[in-house]
Symmetry: C2
Subunit: 405 residues, 2 copies
């Protein structure tokens, strides 16, 4: 087995983490040969030889000595250019860019096949939790029923501060920003997009099906209000931002990202702070629960290192489930029971509930609980962004039917 010679794109917190972790991993037989950064003039740690740096992608892409590209830059468009160029040239790639992957997976899978190059991206979903590799390799028969979890550490940190430490939502968001858990524009995390992109990648490996982001209902926690928190507390529950994909019949599955009321009997109730937790449910093994740090420089770097080592042993995703003959089809024709809190917007007029089970009207705020088709939520999606509205899932429709967790 040869030494892996790495061309690294990006030297932010994750890139620096990789440099650090590779320095520690004595048996890795992998070395960073070149690092491509956007701004060469930026001051760098003295521990990293300045000769490693370049600002020209070709210095890596054209170097025949480099046999693996590791891409950890923020910009999804630039990442797409690097990854597709590398794959077309038959160079293997490790990437952590979930936005880019979630948007372009079908093309990237096709490029891997046509150019016999491998793209690994376990680090893109849930940081150090090996979800993708396990779905691809271990839960690789058609008995898988559901993958559900907390996939975004920043929003979970905020909700955890609110529910476990009694902070207000805005206090919690400020603290998350101070600690670097939330971006200056936190929409990517708290709007549910980060969790959505991870869910799309997970679904490719869970069920062999790619669903484009715009077809999936995604609703974040940015409109959460004291009234919602009070309501959850009264019921002994927490609100968590949950991503899930689940088979709803032998031939169909659904998926979405939205806040959910979670009681203490659920595994994900105890997933606090910046942690991620994923429940994988199958017909025979019931439930598996995986839990770990979902983000951060070193956990992500360590996950990238696992991908690098996997390439050293010629591992590649086989996308076996995409070849199955009886793949389930994506459906939004499922009934969800939701909680919708509103003030001035006339929610009962906007949302075509099939059944309303509870309604509360007061001077400060109102809410309605009822059954609605997921397709109707998608159709009214833009109206639900009004700042006086918050909706959350209360469904127990598939995974919770027969078992308690």
């Amino acid at each position: 087995m040869n030494t892996i010679k790495i061309g690294l794109f990006g030297f932010g917190t994750v890139g620096q983490g990789i440099y650090h972790v590779l320095g520690q991993a004595k048996n890795a037989h992998a070395e960073i040969k070149r690092i491509c950064v956007r701004d060469l003039s930026k001051p760098r740690s003295a521990a990293v030889p300045s000769a490693l740096f370049t600002d020209k992608p070709e210095d890596i892409l054209d170097d025949p000595d480099i046999n693996l590209i590791v891409e950890v830059i923020d910009n999804p468009e630039a990442a797409y250019d690097i990854v597709t160029t590398a794959l077309r040239r038959g160079i293997d790639v490790v990437s952590g860019n979930k936005t880019m992957l979630a948007r372009h997976l079908p093309e990237l899978i096709d490029l891997q096949r046509r150019h016999n190059a491998a793209l690994l991206y376990d680090a893109s979903s849930c940081g150090s939790i090996p979800v993708i590799r396990n779905l691809e390799e271990y839960y690789d028969n058609d008995l898988l029923l559901e993958v559900k979890g907390i996939l975004n550490g920043s929003s979970n940190y905020i909700l955890s501060r609110v529910f476990d430490h009694g902070e207000s939502y805005s206090q919690a968001l400020d603290r998350a920003r101070q600690l670097g858990f939330a971006e200056s524009d936190p929409t990517f995390d708290i709007g549910g997009w980060d969790a959505l992109f991870k869910l799309i990648i997970i679904t490719v490996h869970a069920l062999g099906e790619y669903v484009a982001p715009e077809r999936i209902f995604t609703y974040g926690i940015q409109n959460i209000h004291d009234a919602d928190i009070r309501y959850a507390r009264e019921k002994g529950m927490k609100i968590k931002l949950v991503a899930q994909v689940a088979k709803v019949s032998d031939t169909a599955f659904t998926m979405f990202v939205m806040p959910e009321f979670v009681g203490p009997e659920k595994y994900i109730y105890s997933v606090d702070d910046e942690y991620n937790g994923v429940v994988i449910r199958g017909e025979c093994y019931d439930r598996q629960f995986m839990f770990g740090k979902g983000a951060g420089s070193l956990p992500t770097a360590s996950s990238i290192l696992s991908d690098i080592m996997a390439r050293r042993h010629h591992y590649r995703y086989e996308y076996k489930k995409m070849a199955y003959l009886d793949r389930p089809a994506y459906t939004t024709d499922v009934t969800l029971r939701i909680y919708a809190r509103y003030r001035t917007t006339d929610i009962p007029a906007i949302l075509p509930f099939r059944k309303i089970t509870e309604m509360y009207i007061s001077e400060g705020s109102n809410y309605v609980i009822g059954d609605i088709q997921l397709s109707d939520l998608i159709a009214r999606r833009s109206e639900l962004d009004a700042p006086d509205i918050f909706i959350a899932n209360l469904s127990r429709f598939f995974s919770d039917r027969d078992v308690s967790r």
Copy 2:
């Protein structure tokens, strides 16, 4: 890819589970061609064609059409004969027999190499939790520090009944027997042997080191007494039967199986009933926690199916870490803080404590808490079986030094 044609040894609960699960897995491309049982005259389910059964191992071993042997018999000696014969003939094997594996792994690894045959056994450790595959593939760099967990479902079920449901130990054991969680001779489970064998297998894949069972301190829960349960409750803790392997320095690791006082801040505190839970700790990713059903017909069968599917894709364990140059060495020269409860046996005279931090003497029972070398515990192992003695781990010596869980 060809269809996997399976020769199945054993048709107890796990064997029947495999038959059931394979029938459900439409994309498995695997079929059971022959089933070897000890007693042909035993009545079998009408759903299984009687022509499948044989009582002659050669009917499977000599069949050139069979390309995978799945061995799920109880008897470790018979399992050893089947597995070694198959490997010598270059036939791949999937086995769930932890006793056989823990005793013979070095030879079985050697046979795999010499005869270019693969032996997979993820089902042998923690049933449906993919611990071995993850250690082998994902946590495959030398940053791994510790693997610690509840590896035996039966003993955990009993302790769970005691601590969560207020039953006495003997009530709980009776209930476990009634539910089929404990054998008529439960020593294998409650004596810690099942957990030990799993720990040995895990250690080969975690650190690349094989340690024979007789070199490892193993202490079960059979002597647990109301006084111990009361002591734990007073401190807000539970007693769990914990198996662990941990690096204690850059060059050394230790391992043992013993009861441990576990507080609610630990992940494994919440692993109840017949579940298993494993914490994997690394330098960069901190902690991963995996949780799931550790035993039972269908979870185990489902895990066996994952191994069968892995062989269909030519997967084999690489035992990469065994080739590392700087593998840590096994040591028992570590200090543990233990609780030792006794009545007539003179524990302070038997155990050479380096330091005693607490001592309690009463008419009913006595205990001492103090620091002792693991090697001294091993040297006095046989004396600790006296029925009036119970010892449990209170150490916080490596994994708990710097972090709370």
